[in-house]
């Protein structure tokens, strides 16, 4: 019983002392002491907080780098995809421009029917100037059909399989095209060469050829339809002691940049070989 009273007394005294101190503090009697105490607590708090933040950033930094790396990889992947898309779109624009020009050409020449074909390769032999196109007998392509672009004549079909064909260019050394000069109506033979240059042969010495004359197919021989644009006379070589004069021709088509061509499908070459005279034995 005695212990109970002494403990209650102690508790009461403690409450009174603490309450008294709080009352004095709230009354402003301990301002200097409370300022010092508050400052100390804030300093310690700041020190602890700074260290904690440093440790936290140290521990979380690798995660951020990994996140950034992932994000960087994602963005690089996206960039590569977009660059690919840009290249594809540029290619489509180029193809559209070419097709548009070819459509204009076919509208301007309605007497012929055309089949468009993409150039998919060149002949494996450097001696031959041939291209390979992606249209064949399934598309109505036949041997001997002329092949043009919107700019002019490029050659004729040399061999055909079901889904492809080989086209001999007019620049091939074995190619010979009967042509005429637009203004002077002079007939001549256009030949290719090893270098891909075109030249006019079999032109009589009596006629006058001038630089800039437009060269068109004549239709003679039945190998090509008439009036297809071939090129322009670049320069003339005339020697008195030769039977014929020669001229080099600048083709209107850039044969190194062939992408899409048109095959004239309503033209059938005429085989005149039976009509040619043969030598008697």
């Amino acid at each position: 019983m005695k212990d109970f009273f002494s403990r209650s007394l102690q508790t009461t005294i403690i409450f009174l002392v603490v309450g008294g101190i709080l009352a004095l503090a709230l009354g402003g009697y301990f301002s200097s002491a409370s300022d010092w105490f508050g400052g100390s607590v804030v300093s310690v708090q700041s020190w602890v907080a700074t260290r904690y933040q440093a440790i936290q950033s140290f521990l979380t930094a690798p995660q951020d780098v990994a996140t950034l790396r992932n994000r960087n990889a994602e963005l690089e992947s996206e960039l590569a995809r977009l660059q690919t898309q840009v290249i594809e779109l540029q290619q489509q624009v180029t193809e559209t421009q070419i097709l548009s020009a070819l459509v204009d050409f076919s509208r301007a020449n309605p007497e012929n029917t055309y089949k468009a074909a993409a150039v998919i390769g060149r002949d494996p032999s450097p001696f031959l100037h041939y291209i390979i196109i992606n249209r064949g007998s399934n598309d109505g392509i036949r041997r001997g059909m002329p092949v043009v672009t919107n700019q002019g004549l490029i050659g004729r079909v040399d061999a055909v399989i079901s889904n492809g064909a080989r086209v001999m260019l007019i620049t091939d050394p074995a190619s010979q095209v009967n042509v005429r000069l637009q203004n002077s109506k002079i007939e001549a033979m256009l030949s290719g060469s090893v270098t891909g240059n075109l030249s006019l042969d079999m032109v009589s010495q009596d006629v006058t050829i001038e630089s800039g004359d437009v060269v068109l197919t004549s239709g003679l021989g039945g190998g090509y339809p008439p009036d297809l644009l071939v090129g322009q006379v670049l320069n003339v070589r005339k020697r008195d002691y030769e039977l014929f004069q020669q001229a080099s021709v600048q083709p209107v088509v850039d044969f190194t940049q062939l992408q899409i061509v048109l095959v004239i499908t309503n033209f059938r070459p005429v085989d005149i070989s039976p009509l040619l005279p043969t030598q008697a034995p």
Partner: protein
């Protein structure tokens, strides 16, 4: 069964030749990756199908090209014959042998093509053909020789791993 890999490999080589290599020109010549591939294959130690590859490659090129089909066939077979002969003698220096075969093979195939086309009536001047086609093609083939040889060597080791270790 593994010998059948010649079909996809040579078909791929032909596609590369017509679609890519044929556009990379030097003067009027361009490389012949089929020739270089067949040369590299013929120089591999454990390869016993070099002749088959040459026949297949020659027929493929002959089918696609405007040149008579026998020309690449005969040219490639002769080149493989020289390669097999040379392989036994200079086996210690395969890259050197590769250069030698590429040089001889290019000259052989191109001269064969030139002569055949001239016999068929194509007006091909010999001097121009040499300076504008054959020599530039030879240079490009020599450039192709080392990378193609390394690729074909890896292919041969992949196809015939046991023979390689033995």
């Amino acid at each position: 069964m593994k010998d059948l890999i010649a079909f996809p490999v040579l078909a791929l080589v032909l596609i590369l030749q017509t679609a890519v290599v044929g556009h990379i020109t030097l003067l009027s010549g361009y490389g012949d990756i089929m020739l270089v591939t067949l040369a590299a294959w013929a120089l591999q130690k454990n390869v016993a199908t070099a002749w088959h590859w040459a026949i297949l490659g020659g027929l493929l090129v002959g089918f696609v090209s405007g040149i008579p089909w026998g020309v690449p066939l005969i040219g490639y077979l002769l080149m493989v014959a020289i390669a097999r002969l040379l392989q036994r003698r200079v086996w210690q220096a395969p890259i050197l042998a590769m250069f030698a075969i590429t040089l001889l093979g290019t000259l052989l195939v191109n001269l064969l093509s030139l002569m055949t086309l001239r016999l068929l009536g194509d007006p091909l001047p010999i001097a121009d053909s040499f300076s504008l086609i054959i020599l530039p093609s030879l240079f490009l083939n020599l450039l192709l020789a080392v990378p193609v040889y390394l690729l074909i060597r890896d292919l041969a080791r992949w196809i015939y791993p046991m023979e390689e270790e033995a």
